[in-house]
């Protein structure tokens, strides 16, 4: 078991555990913190897969910007107390069972796929580098890139409309 494997298992365990913590933690702020841990774990995976650009973006955008936004909103609402009313146990159970079933079904369906023995290249492979991705993004992918600007515009307008006091 090489270092890659060890890292993979460690990061996977980290991601899953922290994700579960996000779900089961009653305190919103703790949940946010655990979510950030999850994101870091995933970024670790990206690095493992030699997708450095995404790893960086993930940390900057998600763990940095988005999670701060979340935290900020939670603080703004003063929700740091444990004030979340809990769903009834039954509903929780049913929700967990439904999710479990989905997991079971998906895994049962996908466990024997024909590509299961193919390998995702780790450590090597140049495509994940900023240089390569940037070239493609600004040549071939320029149109989606421009289009995403429309998305941002609309999100901006929207946030303004919604956020502005009347």
């Amino acid at each position: 078991m090489g270092i890659t494997q060890i890292l993979f298992w460690f990061l996977s365990a980290l991601v899953l555990v922290s994700a579960i913590m996000v779900v089961i933690n009653r305190h919103p702020v703790y949940s946010v913190i655990w979510l950030i841990v999850t994101f870091f774990g995933i970024s670790g995976h990206y690095i493992l897969l030699n997708a450095q650009f995404l790893a960086v973006v993930n940390i900057i955008v998600y763990a940095g910007a988005i999670m701060v936004l979340f935290l900020f909103v939670i603080m703004l609402m003063n929700l740091n107390k444990d004030m979340e009313p809990q769903k009834s146990k039954w509903l929780k159970l049913v929700g967990a069972i439904a999710g479990g079933c989905l997991l079971l079904v998906l895994i049962a369906a996908l466990k024997d796929i024909d590509i299961k023995d193919q390998v995702a290249e780790t450590n090597t492979g140049e495509i994940g580098l900023i240089e390569n991705l940037g070239t493609v993004l600004f040549t071939k992918y320029v149109i989606p890139f421009e289009i995403s600007s429309i998305l941002f515009l609309s999100a901006m307008v929207g946030a303004v409309i919604i956020g502005k006091k009347e």
Binding site: L16, V61, Y62, I162
Partner: protein, 109 residues
């Protein structure tokens, strides 16, 4: 790493997100769980990207790039969505002083 591991990891993560959506009442946490789902997808896409890259190395050296760019766009969209979403949550909170999902039941039947 065998791609199967990534598939199972991602799906598990994805389902954890779904379970979170199903079991939590706090709107913000629900929203965060959706982010977990998106991240599961991102991870899977990157893994597939590297898998296809490896498979098609001979014929197409840039194979797999599109998936990583897709992940980039997902992040972009997620950011936009979060900004709008949080704005809406704040607006609701201003009106009702609650972000309990179960509280949203004026509209029914």
């Amino acid at each position: 790493m065998p791609i199967n591991y990534y598939i199972i990891l991602s799906i598990t993560l994805f389902v954890i997100g779904i379970v979170g959506v199903l079991t939590r009442r706090n709107t913000i946490i629900v929203f965060m769980c959706i982010e977990i789902m998106l991240n599961a997808v991102n991870l899977l896409l990157v893994a597939f990207s590297k898998m296809h890259h490896l498979n098609q190395l001979a014929t197409n050296p840039t194979a797999g790039t599109e998936a990583q760019l897709f992940v980039f766009f997902i992040m972009v969209v997620a950011a936009a969505e979060v900004s709008v979403g949080l704005a809406i949550i704040v607006m609701l909170f201003r009106n009702t002083h609650s972000i309990d999902v179960n509280f949203l039941n004026r509209l029914k039947h």
